[in-house]
């Protein structure tokens, strides 16, 4: 059986591509190694809606949304202090939402099947199949080969197939981080809302820097689902030598931190997981996004924008999938020459424009002292400002004293803050 398009991976990128192609009459098959779409997927917890309105407007109709985010919280956390900034939006805005990725992908897979796509689960693709000229002509799973005019690689961050096909080198620790996540379920949603200070159905996205990663690059996160929350820690792989706690215990340390523990008291662990995430943005991209017979989308292409507090993967994945579909629709043949239109579309879209714009973010975010300095200095300075003794301090005195105590160089931190203003 020959398909027009074979998509590897039923994630947001692969499914979005399949949906658009099938809607235009292409015969599409999606191969998924998990028991069901989403079974192998894990993310922080939030999806940004703005570009979905353009690339997947169907989501407004009936996609599952646990909570629309109306509170953005950022904390610098140390052993014994936390300094928190919160943006609360009182209008009923609908700009980003929290939902288990599994639920969202499950919804998307039904939409895709409705459009006529065949999704085959429990099939692990082992390799991309090439002909003698090097054109990708299909995929191989065990001893089975499935032929397709076009292949879309949406296999995710590990991108073993691209590596085996000689398209990319093995992933370097500098390019990725590992996220470890607990899903903690509350007795009911009221308890969750009261603990986190949320109105009914209001969502919270919370980034925490400093303590969660032992002051190394990365951070902690909390996202509120309906009656559970996602609690996690993301650590850059290149810094592993400096970690004192194994990565599997970092998230527990965060849960038990005196600032967090009262919030999650009594909640039961529903799931525990880990997943890698691209952190180097466009620096992780393969040499090209298109080859003879092949297009690369989503995490496998490095399409994840990460600027510390803001992390966007799903909207980039979906847009890249849609653009790959558009490229195939317009291409006269599966030759790389004709598929080059995919890259043109990426460059004309927010996908590569935004990734280019924040290209230097990774260099700053992977600076080993950045979060350490910020967390230690800001919490200590705030403490000294608010703590009244014989001498009430001016803000400057509080910062100067904190700088002395924490040995954080003020000039260096000011330079880093200017870098942050420019590149994050």
């Amino acid at each position: 059986m020959k398909f027009d398009v074979a998509v590897v991976g039923a994630g947001p990128a692969g499914l979005a591509a399949a949906y658009r192609l099938a809607s235009s009459g292409f015969k599409v098959v999606v191969l998924e190694r998990g028991r069901e779409p989403g079974a192998k997927e894990l993310y922080g917890g939030r999806i940004y809606a703005y570009w979905l309105d353009k690339y997947l407007p169907e989501f407004r109709k009936d996609a599952p949304v646990d909570r629309w985010v109306r509170k953005e919280r950022v904390s610098f956390l140390t052993e014994d202090k936390a300094l928190t900034v919160e943006l609360a939006i009182t209008q009923k805005e609908k700009t980003s939402f929290v939902v288990p990725l599994v639920s969202f992908v499950s919804w998307l897979s039904k939409l895709v099947q409705g459009a006529g796509v065949k999704i085959v689960t429990e099939v692990t693709v082992d390799a991309l199949v090439k002909d003698e000229k090097g054109k990708i002509t299909g995929v191989q799973s065990g001893s089975d080969v499935l032929q397709a005019e076009y292949v879309i690689d949406a296999e995710g961050v590990n991108r073993l197939l691209l590596e085996r096909a000689g398209i990319v080198k093995k992933l370097e620790p500098e390019l990725v981080a590992v996220g470890v996540k607990e899903v903690l379920k509350f007795e009911n949603k009221k308890v969750l809302e009261e603990r986190l200070g949320l109105d009914e159905d209001e969502g919270l996205a919370w980034a925490l820097a400093g303590y969660p990663t032992e002051y190394l690059p990365g951070g902690g996160f909390i996202y509120t689902y309906k009656d559970s929350l996602a609690l996690g820690v993301v650590v850059y792989l290149k810094n592993w030598e400096k970690l004192k706690t194994p990565v599997y215990d970092l998230v527990e340390k965060l849960r038990l931190h005196p600032y967090i523990a009262p919030l999650v008291k009594g909640a039961t662990l529903q799931e525990y997981g880990g997943h890698m995430t691209p952190v180097a943005g466009i620096n992780m991209s393969p040499p090209r996004y298109y080859y003879d017979g092949l297009l690369i989308v989503g995490d496998a292409a490095g399409f994840l924008l990460h600027t510390g507090v803001l992390i966007r993967g799903v909207d980039f994945a979906i847009a890249s999938g849609v653009l790959a579909a558009e490229a195939i629709k317009e291409a006269r043949s599966p030759s790389a020459e004709d598929l080059a239109i995919y890259e043109k579309k990426l460059r004309e879209s927010f996908v590569l424009q935004q990734l280019e714009k924040f290209r230097s973010a990774d260099r700053l975010l992977s600076d080993e002292s950045l979060f350490r300095d910020l967390a230690l200095l800001s919490t200590e300075a705030a403490y000294r400002y608010f703590n009244i003794d014989h001498n009430q301090r001016t803000l400057f005195e509080a910062v100067r004293e904190a700088s002395k105590k924490t040995r954080v160089n003020m000039l260096k931190i000011m330079i880093n803050m200017i870098r942050m203003l420019r590149s994050l």
Binding site: R35, A39, L42, T121, V157, L160, K170, Y248, G273
Partner: protein
């Protein structure tokens, strides 16, 4: 505030799996490389604690693997052979 610490084993027990006992998807290609590996990053960076140091060696058990791929990337000696598990096997996330 005293909350109970969940061991990694307790946490992993919350998950659903379909273990491939016949063909593990990860293998240590050359255990001697692990023996001489000074820092053994796999024992530190695997979220599921699949790698445990025993004497100079590293013992791998893939049953509770969450398939993140970290071990392969952090291994400084390229000693880990990593595949996606066979069809349908391995971790099954339901709530993340």
């Amino acid at each position: 505030m005293s909350l109970k610490y969940f061991t990694i084993e307790e946490r992993l027990n919350a998950n659903a799996w379909d273990v491939d006992i016949h063909r593990p998807h990860i293998k240590i290609k050359d255990p001697d490389k692990c023996r001489t590996c000074e820092k053994k990053p796999c024992t530190y960076m695997c979220p599921a604690k699949c790698y445990v140091q025993q004497g100079d060696y590293v013992v791998l058990s893939t049953e509770a693997c969450v398939e993140c791929g970290t071990c392969r990337v952090v291994c400084p000696h390229g000693a880990i052979e990593w595949n996606y598990p066979r069809s349908g096997m391995g971790i099954w996330y339901r709530f993340t």
